[in-house]
Symmetry: C2
Subunit: 388 residues, 2 copies
């Protein structure tokens, strides 16, 4: 008898409508969903297939109807407010397609944690991926819509996502207006990833795409843009994605107010092949190491060095890269390096370090860059390999 059936008292699963995901992703957390790209891919593919792009979600994936979707843009100083449909964005402005590497600022946190505990997801070295992103320049859109970018009260551009926590607050972050105004900046409102609509996990239907700057500012499921005198007042902008000094061992001691929100990211690199614990055959005499290197801020990667004696001797790796204009290298490079297997060892440690076009290099150890949130670990990456 239907009428007698007592309704099941259920705690609603806030994450009940998450998208299907590739089983090849390396999952760090299900709710919210956070997963790395397969390591072996980052050694071989300049472009990561969309379904294997790393995912860093802060909340459930929102469901957005592209037909009724409107992006709202507001100047917080005078209340000017406009709305644009996806069709407006796709038809009224010049679109560009560029290869962009997005990297979570927590990439390689695992290794920082091994030195001294830090707070956050224990990312290995593949919270980083590269896609061809298509979109329109935010600068063009703002100028077309009559926003005065020279208004000195406009200091920051706030991006609000449509992803919400149970209390209804949305993910938000901001970037300085200078990045948007910069001729070289190429901040996009992106609606395609690898020539297809953006997958649900990466921001469908619209994502702020801020090349050269940590992933946290490339807000997914973008719903609202606010031009403001102040930074975003979100937790993630003010109290999270900042590099604390190494003397602050505990987040409770942290005075986030004094610190600048991270934007551009430093030169970094990683070994993706062989993986930790892999075996190389002594009889071959040689083996090939492969990986990626990436610098934020539009800086190119000039050089990757590889060592099997902890930096006493270095060999230059061969680089594979996109052909990018100067000051607009938004994507990683892949590298490979053939190494001689030493006679007298049954284990070796492979180490890599990269140099960017500002001639910056990576710190050898974590000592001077350790921070309690485990952000931006760009110390030399090391992988131990067995010889048999």
């Amino acid at each position: 008898d239907k009428t007698k059936k007592k309704p099941v008292e259920e705690k609603v699963d806030f994450y009940r409508e998450e998208p299907k995901r590739s089983s090849r992703l390396k999952v760090l957390s299900q709710k919210p969903f956070n997963a790395e790209s397969p390591k072996e891919l980052s050694a071989e593919n300049l472009i990561t297939p969309s379904e294997l792009h790393f995912v860093r979600n802060h909340m459930p994936v929102p469901k957005i109807d592209p037909k009724s979707f409107k992006l709202s843009i507001m100047n917080d100083n005078n209340g000017k407010n406009i709305e644009l449909s996806l069709e407006d964005l796709e038809t009224k402005f010049e679109s560009i397609t560029i290869p962009v590497t997005i990297q979570c600022s927590g990439n390689k946190r695992k290794y920082m944690n091994e030195q001294n505990p830090v707070q956050g997801l224990q990312w290995d070295a593949n919270a980083i991926s590269t896609a061809l992103w298509t979109g329109v320049r935010l600068r063009d859109v703002l100028i077309h819509c009559g926003f005065d970018l020279n208004d000195p009260r406009i200091r920051h551009v706030i991006f609000e996502g449509l992803d919400k926590d149970p209390s209804g607050s949305v993910y938000a972050a901001s970037i300085p207006i200078e990045k948007v105004k910069d001729d070289n900046g190429e901040v996009l409102l992106a609606y395609k990833m690898n020539n297809q609509p953006i997958p649900l996990d990466n921001g469908y239907p619209l994502r702020a795409l801020v090349p050269g700057i940590i992933g946290a500012r490339s807000v997914k499921w973008l719903g609202k843009i606010i031009l403001s005198e102040e930074e975003s007042q979100s937790f993630w902008q003010l109290n999270d994605y900042k590099v604390l000094p190494p003397s602050v061992k505990n987040l409770k001691e942290a005075d986030f107010k004094k610190l600048r929100a991270i934007q551009e990211s430093p030169i970094t690199s990683a070994i993706c092949q062989p993986a930790e614990g892999n075996v190389v055959k002594r009889e071959n005499g040689k083996f090939t190491a492969k990986g990626y290197a990436f610098s934020g801020g539009g800086n190119d990667v000039l050089n990757v060095l590889v060592s099997i004696d902890n930096g006493k001797n270095w060999k230059q790796a061969a680089l594979h890269k996109f052909d990018s204009p100067l000051y607009k290298s938004w994507a990683w490079v892949l590298w490979e390096c053939e190494l001689d297997i030493p006679q007298d060892q049954d284990q070796i440690e492979v180490v890599c370090t990269a140099t960017d076009s500002n001639q910056n290099t990576q710190p050898e150890s974590i000592s001077s860059i350790w921070n309690a949130r485990g952000l931006l670990n760009n110390a030399w990456h090391k992988v131990k390999v067995k010889i048999e």
Copy 2:
């Protein structure tokens, strides 16, 4: 009897008309003249007095008559050629005055040489100075004179000095056209230094001033600008100011052709006070260390860390800096840090390292950055101090 007097057979001193110099400069070579700024100044003065600015000359100082001086600008692709007097430059264009740090790419070579011999002048840490430079934007001048900066054949801007070697060839260097076109680039034709005509040693009457890029490209005694598809073919551009890989131990093995000419410089810092071997008084319980930090490419310095236990523990220094727009931090910052004198030691080693706005940091040791020309040594600077 005059007629019988045999003419004195003299070797002409090519350097016979050099300017007078301050006795406070630390001279590394007289002919050509190369000298560091006094170390103690770099701990105290955001602006270096002009007569104490470091000097890096490659040849004798040329004598130039400002009244008859003409700057020539040529497009190498079509022969278009114009000439401008100093008065043209000073009156026909908007002038700007900005604080700019110039650093010799050999700064701190001495320490790299101590690790493993390198070729070049043995600069300590003060081949770097900061002045208020006044000039006109090269971009404005080129556009005003009708040069088409969007011509794809214009890839490089070559600067030729009026300083010559005995064979008559001039000092020359080039920068990429993108730096000149960049809204943020601020490449100047400078005619004043610290609000006075530029001193003879620093390029009187006109100097190319390329902020954020190594001093070698800020050509002094500027006589000619060439817009070209090729880089400058000078020795200094093609075969000198390039970072060789650490595996090349000897310049004879160097294949310079494969390497990019250095432009922007990495984050660096130095301790200027106390100096190596100085004594600090135990009875005071504390002492203050001071110095500078600088990053090329317009990057700001966010943080300077100081350690007296070789990086196990770090203290944050206080920073003194110019108020510069984002992406246009062309000058160093000065830092100071009060340190406790340890009870149980009669000598301590002070170490500093800095972080820039791309979150790049300095390498701990010289191992991964050593290069046979001893360029861009930005490893942690260390100074030993006695406690008495």
